[in-house]
């Protein structure tokens, strides 16, 4: 039934936003994770690639993670001569994580989660109100 399917779709959306929040948390936590040796790769910002998939049971299109992608943007250099990963000139490659962007992503994930939550609640309320007619 459509309202049940709506609940399924909303719950998949909530799961996706939870995964997104996890990515944001990882990015924020690893904003300073550098390599151990000069020339090594520091942490790179992760991004979620979202895809819609057809749910086999209900036939609805639900949002899922296609893959965890890596942000290929340039890594910023920071002058830190004492660092174990510093090159000959004293520069260290730092992760390409911008906390401001991550905070905006976090907000977006929160809002989207709430939107899906509202859809789920609404489907439930509509079903319940319909059943109330019989009482």
């Amino acid at each position: 039934m459509d309202l049940d399917v709506a609940m399924r779709v909303a719950s998949a959306g909530m799961k996706l936003q939870a995964a997104r929040l996890r990515v944001v948390a990882e990015n924020l936590a690893n904003a300073e994770s550098t390599a151990r040796t000069p020339g090594g790769e520091p942490y790179r910002r992760k991004v979620l690639e979202v895809a819609s998939r057809r749910d086999r049971e209900t036939g609805a299109l639900v949002a899922t993670i296609r893959r965890w992608a890596v942000d290929r943007r340039e890594l910023p250099l920071r002058y830190a001569p004492g660092h174990p990963a510093a090159d000959a000139a004293g520069y260290v490659r730092f992760p390409n994580v911008n906390p401001l962007i991550e905070l905006m992503d976090m907000r977006e994930a929160q809002r989207s989660y709430e939107a899906n939550l509202n859809a789920m609640q609404m489907a439930r309320t509509m079903l319940q109100r319909t059943l109330d007619i019989l009482r």
């Binding site: 049940d4 609940m7 399924r8 909303a10 719950s11 998949a12 909530m14 799961k15 939870a18 789920m120 439930r124 079903l127 319940q128 059943l131 019989l134 009482r135």
Partner: protein, 104 residues
């Protein structure tokens, strides 16, 4: 009252046949059996299925194998399914009682 019990039963059977034709046009798990028992059996089976699904989802959730969202979705689907079943059952029983009260 002009309508006889026979007419009422006929009308009721016709209504059930019509509803069942609308609900299950092709595959009929009860083998063409009509009436309240078949209706209850069908609804009960689907409700029990939903409850079992929600129970297994809750266990998986407690073991950390299913997400909170999955658990909430399964539990509320089962709850609504049970509500649907009880509402329809109450309604059909009320209809039967109505027929029983008819003067023959």
């Amino acid at each position: 009252m002009k309508a006889t019990l026979g007419q009422a039963l006929e009308a009721y059977t016709a209504a059930v046949v019509r509803d069942r034709a609308a609900l299950a046009p092709s595959d009929d798990p009860t083998g063409g059996e009509l009436g309240f028992a078949a209706l209850v059996r069908e609804q009960l089976a689907s409700t029990v299925g939903a409850l079992a699904r929600s129970e297994s989802r809750v266990v998986a959730g407690l073991l950390g194998k299913a997400s909170v969202q999955d658990v909430v979705e399964a539990v509320s689907a089962a709850e609504l399914s049970l509500q649907k079943f009880t509402a329809v059952r109450d309604r059909v029983i009320a209809a039967y009682q109505e027929i029983m009260r008819m003067p023959v």
